[in-house]
């Protein structure tokens, strides 16, 4: 099934609030093999200048995927997820995510375009606290390999 180009420019509703927890941050840090104590120990994080346990830079993907998966799993978009590989990723951080943050992710499909036999879908996801403070903007491009072949 081809990807529906009419989804370019579509802005989806913000996700339900996501509460960043110390346990989830520690689990993520363990999974990426990062032993840095600021991802596990509040005293170490506070000594480094943070309010609470801080998230590794790429932890933002966990939350941005909460938003972008709503967009990419929309049946009307027609994406075949098994054919998807990640093309590009960028995070702009207004500040670091920390335990206790309650945030939402709101995704816009910025662009849909062809690149050879692949179709590229670019999304922009804003991660904001429930008070509206912008914490991080995640820019992602995924490639559906092979198009209709």
């Amino acid at each position: 099934m081809a990807i529906n180009r009419e989804y370019a420019g579509r802005r989806f509703e913000p996700s339900d609030p996501y509460e960043v927890s110390r346990v989830k941050i520690a689990e993520f840090a363990h999974a990426i093999g990062d032993q840095n104590p600021i991802y596990r120990d509040r005293d170490a994080a506070q000594a480094a200048g943070f309010r609470d346990v801080v998230a590794p830079p790429t932890f933002a993907i966990v939350i941005s995927m909460v938003g972008s998966s709503v967009a990419l799993a929309d049946p009307g978009l027609g994406l075949n997820y098994a054919m998807v590989v990640h093309g590009e990723q960028r995070f702009e951080y207004a500040r670091q995510l920390q335990a206790g943050d309650v945030v939402t992710a709101q995704t816009t499909i910025a662009n849909i375009r062809d690149a050879g036999r692949n179709t590229l879908v670019s999304t922009e996801t804003e991660i904001r606290t429930t008070e509206g403070e912008l914490v991080c903007t995640a820019y992602s491009t995924i490639a559906e390999r092979g198009g209709d072949a």
Partner: protein, 148 residues
């Protein structure tokens, strides 16, 4: 060299553009990918199911691109040390990290160079990540704000 862990904080005044930072090796096994699936919530079958990965034309199970990016992030935060904050971080995934079903898995080699010094104690690093002598991250760049 293997991952050193967070080092002594880097001083902005001591940073010199063009300085090459030591390469660090990060292992990735099937177990790494299973853990990363669970921790990240990305359960795409190509990261854990060899049968389906091969059926969709991949050589084998491949690592999450975000796992490689996370290793590059580790490289940056370990270099910058305590109190530093990554303010911008972007990569292009230029090739797949193929992870065989053995006890060794694959290795991601990350290296970096100081690209430029910016205002407000910020430093831009250009990063490279390779696996099997192929670049897996290109146009990888992180901007770090150093303490002080």
């Amino acid at each position: 060299m293997t991952a050193p862990g967070p080092g002594t904080p880097v001083s902005y005044d001591d940073v010199k553009p063009g300085t090459e930072l030591p390469q660090v090796s990060y292992p990735v096994t099937r177990l790494s990918l299973v853990k990363y699936c669970g921790a990240s919530g990305d359960f795409n079958v190509i990261h854990w199911n060899e049968r389906i990965a091969k059926s969709v034309g991949l050589p084998d199970v491949i690592a999450h691109g975000m796992f490689s990016m996370a290793q590059a992030g580790r490289y940056v935060t370990d270099w910058a040390g305590s109190g530093a904050v990554v303010v911008d971080f972007g990569v292009r995934f230029s090739s797949m990290v193929v992870v065989p079903d053995d006890d060794i898995g694959a290795t991601i080699e990350v290296s970096g160079v100081i690209e430029e010094k910016l205002d407000h104690n910020r430093v831009a690093l250009a990063l490279t990540a390779r696996s099997n002598d192929t670049k897996v991250l290109t146009r990888a760049r992180a901007v770090v704000q150093l303490p002080g």
